[in-house]
């Protein structure tokens, strides 16, 4: 029996009722296909026209949509096959199609010396899917996956590669730790419904100092040694001026977060930088109390540093808040113990069990007033934290200069 005769009969008609017989039958078909393909390949020296003709004939014979051998196999062997045989027939048929895809490629690669006619398979043919270039395959349901996998399979088998070699990777870049921490902080407060506001880095002395209850004569100005442009203009020493700007712009109620770059006239060393980054937070509403400050910052610290962290608040002084406080968290490394299980003192909290993380307070009535908000009607709380410092604590970085050196050995770790 020729192949054509075989495929015109059903398996039952051929007397094939068991899996081994199915395999044998397919092996026979496969061998026929391989030999015809070999013949095509070995005919390499012939003229391109002739080769094209042969290739087309071979394609039509095997892959033709209505009368191709594969179509017959589908129609006669696969579709009417018994429930028991269907899985094995299906698998074998798919294997055959993969091989035929190779046939297709062999044919096409030798099509013409230039690539001008790549993929010139008949339009509309389901077989076009064998051409295996992604976009063309969208309609060829069922075949897509097989075909796509095909080309991979082809390459792997022909590469004879050592599969233990490292993979072929695209290098990913990274987002700077300060940006990462800033985003993380923003996300927590955005989730509480806060909005983001910004202000200029080159700021008037009025917004940076006076409106925040720090007149020129105030000793607190010494605490924030500023870089200035002229008598009335400074590089902002904190993000707090955004409090005033935002209050004036939007009025109350107001719930904002103001991230940004700030400057102090400090010589650079491991813990100082003349330029660093802060986030200011502020909530002004009709009934804001110290309890809101505590509750919100406690929530924030747990979200950022981990749920097991405890917060502690103690008084301090800022001219623009009253009462003013500092927030400490129990050390997330040693869990507040100050040392590890074998008694080595904890580096993160300097053995104290606590880490001071930010300043906060109830906004001073004068500051609300400078922001154009009636302090009798509204109250508010605010906080300020150093993003760089948060990043240092979170990632165990001990030199602030690393943030601004652009050293790949640093950047690659994030």
């Amino acid at each position: 029996m020729t192949i054509e005769e075989e495929v015109s009969k059903t398996l039952a008609e051929l007397g094939v009722t068991e899996a081994p017989a199915v395999e044998a039958l397919f092996a026979e078909v496969r061998a026929a296909m391989d030999s015809e393909r070999q013949e095509l390949v070995s005919r390499g020296a012939a003229s391109s026209t002739e080769r094209e003709k042969t290739a087309k004939a071979l394609r039509d014979r095997w892959l033709g949509r209505k009368n191709g051998l594969l179509a017959h196999i589908d129609e006669k062997w696969l579709k009417p096959s018994s429930r028991e045989l269907k899985p094995i027939v299906g698998r074998k048929f798919n294997e055959l199609r993969q091989t035929s895809a190779q046939l297709e490629m062999e044919a096409l690669i030798r099509d013409v010396p230039v690539r001008a006619k790549v993929n010139s398979s008949d339009p509309g043919s389901k077989d076009a899917s064998f051409a295996s270039t992604g976009q063309a395959l969208s309609t060829a349901t069922g075949t897509v996956a097989v075909t796509t996998k095909d080309s991979v399979a082809v390459e792997v088998t022909t590469a004879a590669a050592d599969l233990t070699l490292p993979g072929y990777r695209r290098r990913l870049g990274s987002i700077h730790p300060i940006t990462r921490v800033q985003r993380e902080i923003e996300d927590i407060f955005l989730g509480l419904g806060y909005s983001i506001e910004t202000g200029p880095e080159v700021e008037t002395a009025y917004y940076n100092f006076d409106a925040l209850n720090i007149p020129a004569t105030h000793p607190a100005r010494d605490d924030m040694d500023s870089l200035y442009v002229d008598a009335e203009t400074v590089l902002r020493t904190h993000t707090s001026p955004v409090q005033i700007r935002a209050l004036r712009k939007h009025g109350a109620p107001l719930y904002i977060l103001a991230p940004g770059r700030v400057y102090r006239r400090d010589n650079p060393d491991a813990s100082h930088s003349p330029m660093f980054h802060q986030i200011e937070g502020l909530a002004v509403d009709a009934d804001i109390t110290f309890a809101d400050l505590k509750g919100t910052l406690d929530f924030f610290c747990r979200k950022f540093f981990g749920e097991k962290v405890r917060t502690s608040f103690h008084p301090t002084y800022f001219p623009f808040t009253e009462p003013s406080g500092e927030v400490s968290i129990s050390c997330f490394v040693c869990d507040g113990a100050g040392s590890d299980a074998v008694g080595r003192s904890c580096r993160t909290c300097k053995a104290s069990g606590w880490i001071e993380v930010m300043g906060c307070g109830m906004i001073h009535p004068d500051v609300l007033g400078h922001g154009g908000v009636d302090p009798e009607r509204y109250s508010g709380w605010a906080f300020g934290l150093g993003i760089d410092r948060f990043a240092m604590v979170k990632y165990d970085i001990h030199d602030i200069q690393l943030f601004f050196q652009s050293d790949m050995r640093f950047l690659e770790q994030f």
Partner: protein, 736 residues
């Protein structure tokens, strides 16, 4: 401020151990920076057994010294008395005041010296006392030990007493050698133009009229509230001492200390605000101690010049306001205990029918929860109701106050600033995309070298008045040098795979004519702060591996990255120009334009600059106008149905005349395409050669697809033909 526990115990019978006290002080806002045993020299013991923080009970001398960080608003805590008051309130203990018993001689101070204040705006009070027939010599051991415990160097018994009282009661004193005061006169006045004074530190100082001085009949003898003069200093030969205890204007002292570059224990306290009512007490205490340890005779009476005695404010305090600020109704008894113990005078206030703020106090009786509070003279920081509430909160304990989480009730992002809310999303999209493209984010300094800055831009930078160094003396008006340094830093360390980006700012000064001098409360002349996105690349696209040899980054790596970036936004009307600017290599630089304005400028760093910066490899740069990019909406994600019919690809081998860029070909193709031409792209370009002189060959891959049917070979051929015909005007033809 160093506080000795032994010394503290003279004022309050504190029983808490050092560690406990440290924690409790911190919870009062008196942060303890360190805690150590007192110096052991006096006790004669050696180094062994020095106390450590972990084991503070092991003090050699039995004393513990707390280094307390006193905030600028609390000058009253710059003394043992002040800290003791806090401790006494905390532990509910009585505060012991030192007993002062003076033996005054019949001779009166008033006859021995005269005091005149000619500038009462700068000196509100000046008290003087004279102690005669003193014997100046080293201080006794107990005094030396006290001073050394708090970090002061002993000098002589008279000077040491003034320092002792300073640390004890917090009031700065000064001792003059009375014999050296010409005409035994004290005049408190502003310095005269050109007046000079040699201060105790041996520095000859030129004074300005803003400096307040203590003068005798002829000349300045002390820089008021800052430092005494050398000529009237207490010496071994001093027999009569004039003790000064005064109150100087904080702002004036601060100015003088700053302008003279002289920060002293005295100026530190005066500029924060000393206790004006403490002046005579401190004087008596010092006189008593001098008489005790240096002998001598205290003349009768204080010479007290106090032209306008201070009236302390009366501050209404209501329970309602306490609740409004703290969110907790602190019991009235607790309020009264705390404030009372801290030295505040409280009078109950009658309730007004309208509520908490009623000031119409009736004379008959008060009600709980409404007071008139008078702060003590040493609490200049307390001026408003909220200041009182802070005192209550401090001593009630922040950690004892309630806590509640509240979400925002108003989002300004949605209401007023639709763009703002999206901005952060856009920034995240950009950094995520760039990281995906293999770029590492960097942060560089805004402060740069003006000369280098000027080489890359004409935009005027913002010049700093007091820069840390010349190399950081302006705010940059270009981000390029910063990126070059970042690349150079890594190239110098052998990196060959650099892709960096910075989302930073440049700062462009407004020209002086643009009205820099607007009202300080109105931002007018502030510099223009612009956001720029800077990309820098150098080295290999990918390092060599078994899979692929190393290949250097090129122009199209950069261009492709920028295309991906810009395509993340809705950027229609995007143009392209094959021209860069001065610091790019000609022929390797280009721009993307949006509405005709540059959105991005990019290319290879000019080789002359690459040589100057000693770059071992080509450097590729891009500057993106980030403000403009962020103004664009992010590319909307909405699904467009795709064709159900098969797509067919055909390649066309074209010959294009030299000098016709692909852009022109693409434009012509776009104009000539049938609707079945779904897309086209160049897949190979061969330069002109022998076979096709004056032409280059371009292999174009075209995808044909119909939305409504399966295309026939004839239809495809037709569409392909029309496409090629559309190129004919450019002189483009099919390669046969």
């Amino acid at each position: 401020m160093k506080i000795s526990l032994d010394w503290l115990k003279e004022f309050v019978a504190v029983t808490a151990g050092p560690k406990e006290l440290k924690t409790d002080l911190t919870n009062l806002g008196l942060g303890v920076e360190s805690l150590a045993g007192a110096p052991s020299r006096i006790t004669g013991q050696g180094e062994a057994g020095l106390p450590t923080e972990a084991n503070p009970s092991a003090q050699v001398s039995g004393d513990t010294v707390f280094e307390i960080e006193v905030t600028t608003n609390r000058p009253d805590c710059l003394s043992h008395l002040g800290v003791a008051r806090e401790v006494a309130t905390l532990y509910r203990l009585p505060l012991k005041r030192p007993r002062i018993e003076l033996k005054e001689s019949p001779a009166l101070t008033n006859g021995a010296v005269s005091i005149e204040i000619t500038d009462p705006d700068l000196c509100a009070r000046y008290c003087g006392r004279v102690v005669r027939n003193v014997e100046v010599k080293p201080s006794p051991a107990w005094l030396v030990r006290r001073l050394e415990a708090v970090g002061l160097r002993p000098i002589n018994n008279v000077a040491d007493v003034t320092n002792y009282v300073l640390m004890d009661l917090g009031h700065p004193l000064h001792a003059f050698d009375l014999a050296r005061l010409r005409a035994s006169k004290i005049i408190v006045r502003r310095a005269r133009p050109g007046e000079r004074l040699r201060t105790l530190d041996g520095v000859d100082r030129l004074l300005a009229s803003e400096n307040l001085v203590i003068a005798d009949a002829e000349r300045a003898v002390a820089l008021a509230g800052v430092m005494g003069g050398e000529d009237t200093e207490i010496s071994a030969s001093t027999r009569a001492v004039l003790l000064e205890s005064a109150w100087f204007d904080p702002v004036s002292i601060r100015r003088t200390a700053k302008s003279q570059g002289l920060h002293t224990e005295a100026s530190h306290r005066f500029e924060r605000g000393a206790d004006i009512e403490m002046a005579p007490l401190a004087l008596d205490r010092a006189a008593q101690l001098i008489a005790d340890i240096a002998g001598g005779e205290i003349l009768g009476g204080i010479l007290d010049v106090y032209p306008a005695p201070r009236v302390r404010p009366e501050i209404p305090l209501g329970a309602g306001e306490i609740v409004r600020i703290l969110g907790y109704d602190v019991p009235a008894g607790e309020v009264e205990r705390i404030l009372g113990s801290l030295g505040f005078r409280m009078v109950s206030r009658a309730a007004s029918p309208t509520g908490r703020e009623g000031l119409s106090s009736s004379p008959s009786g008060g009600r709980p929860g409404a007071w008139i509070v008078t702060p003590p003279s040493f609490r200049l920081d307390v001026a408003r109701e909220v200041d009182l509430i802070e005192e209550i909160a401090r001593h009630f304990g922040f950690d004892r106050l309630p806590s509640r989480l509240r979400v925002a009730t108003r989002r300004i992002g949605e209401e007023n600033l639709p763009v703002q809310a999206g901005r952060r999303e856009k920034e995240s999209a950009v950094s995520n995309l760039l990281a995906g493209l293999g770029f590492y984010e960097i942060y560089t300094s805004s402060m740069v070298d003006p000369e280098e800055n000027a080489r890359f831009t004409n935009r005027p930078p913002v010049v700093l008045g007091n820069p840390l160094s010349q190399e950081a003396s302006v705010l940059r008006s270009t981000s390029v040098p910063s990126m070059l340094h970042a690349l150079g830093w890594n190239l110098d360390r052998g990196r060959t795979d650099l892709r960096l980006y910075e989302a930073g700012k440049i700062y462009v000064a407004k020209p002086a004519s643009a009205g820099r001098r607007e009202s300080a409360t109105k931002p007018g002349g502030l510099p223009d702060e612009r956001r720029v996105l800077t990309l820098g690349m150098s080295g290999a696209r990918r390092d060599a591996s078994v899979h692929e040899p190393e290949r250097a980054l090129d122009f199209y790596d950069l261009k492709g990255g920028l295309e991906a970036l810009i395509e993340a936004f809705e950027a229609s009307r995007l143009g392209f120009a094959a021209e860069g600017c001065a610091y790019f290599e000609p022929g390797f630089a280009a721009k993307f334009l949006l509405d005709g304005q540059p959105l991005a400028i990019f290319g290879r760093l000019a080789s002359r600059l690459a040589r100057e910066y000693k770059f071992s490899r080509d450097v590729w740069l891009a500057e993106v106008d980030y403000d403009r990019l962020l103004e664009l909406p992010l590319r909307a994600r909405s699904f467009r149905p795709f064709s159900k019919f098969p797509a067919v690809k055909r390649d066309f081998s074209l010959l294009v005349p030299m000098g016709t860029p692909y852009e022109r070909v693409a434009e012509a193709l776009a104009g000539a395409r049938d609707e079945e031409v779904q897309s086209f792209r160049p897949v190979e370009r061969l330069p002109e050669g022998k076979i096709f002189p004056d032409h280059y060959s371009l292999l174009l891959r075209v995808t044909f697809q119909s939305a409504t049917r399966t295309l026939t070979s004839e239809e495809i051929a037709g569409a392909g033909r029309r496409l090629v015909e559309g190129l004919a005007p450019l002189g483009v033809r099919l390669r046969s």
